[in-house]
């Protein structure tokens, strides 16, 4: 694995959705008509050289998310919340994200989030009040 933990600020301006790095303070300062943050691949529990402190990386991301005067509307987590689907890994991420100033956190599962149990734990944690849809050709 080459890295773990990433994020982007997405801003809707004049009907156009643009994305910026979380390290771009000029854009983080503007809220636009709608702004949200996409984070991904925390791999909580991972501790190898690619990122030996993924907890610190997520906390740093939340600090950047918390910086704008107008907070982003929501966080969209696009998967690999955990590294091995362990409850403590999900718990750690959930606790850190609770300190973010956004109203909601929405999640999409990564393959590391649904190991061993076909996603049962993931759906119990993040799938409440959602519906299952099957796509057919």
């Amino acid at each position: 694995m080459a890295w773990a933990g990433t994020g982007a600020l997405c801003v809707l301006e004049g009907g156009v959705l643009k994305s910026y790095g979380l390290d771009d303070p000029a854009h983080i300062a503007k809220a636009g008509e709608l702004s949200f943050v996409q984070i991904s691949d925390n791999h909580m529990g991972f501790n190898k050289p690619a990122n030996s402190d993924v907890t610190a990386t997520l906390k740093a991301a939340v600090a950047k998310i918390s910086a704008p005067p107008v907070p982003p509307e929501f966080i969209l987590h696009t998967g690999d919340i955990s590294h091995l689907s362990k409850p403590v890994e999900f718990d750690t991420v959930d606790q850190i994200l609770q300190s973010a100033p956004t109203k909601d956190v929405f999640c999409v599962s990564g393959e590391h989030d649904v190991l061993e149990d076909d996603g049962k734990q993931y759906r119990e944690r993040y799938g409440k009040n959602t519906k299952n849809h099957r796509c057919q050709d």
Binding site: M1, F46, H83, L84, H112, L115
Partner: protein
Amino acid sequence: MKVGTQITWTNADDIPHTVVSNDLSFKSKVLDTDEKFPLTASKPGTFPYFCSITQG
């Protein structure tokens, strides 16, 4: 493999993998780095296998 052949896979990668035979006759649990999957063959033959997480 002949019946009784013993094989042990070790995950030397920094991400988890599994060992799953194409015919699903054997399947490991998720192996984190340095975890092992020992197998004793119960039937003879050639058994192609893959990782069910990375599809490799």
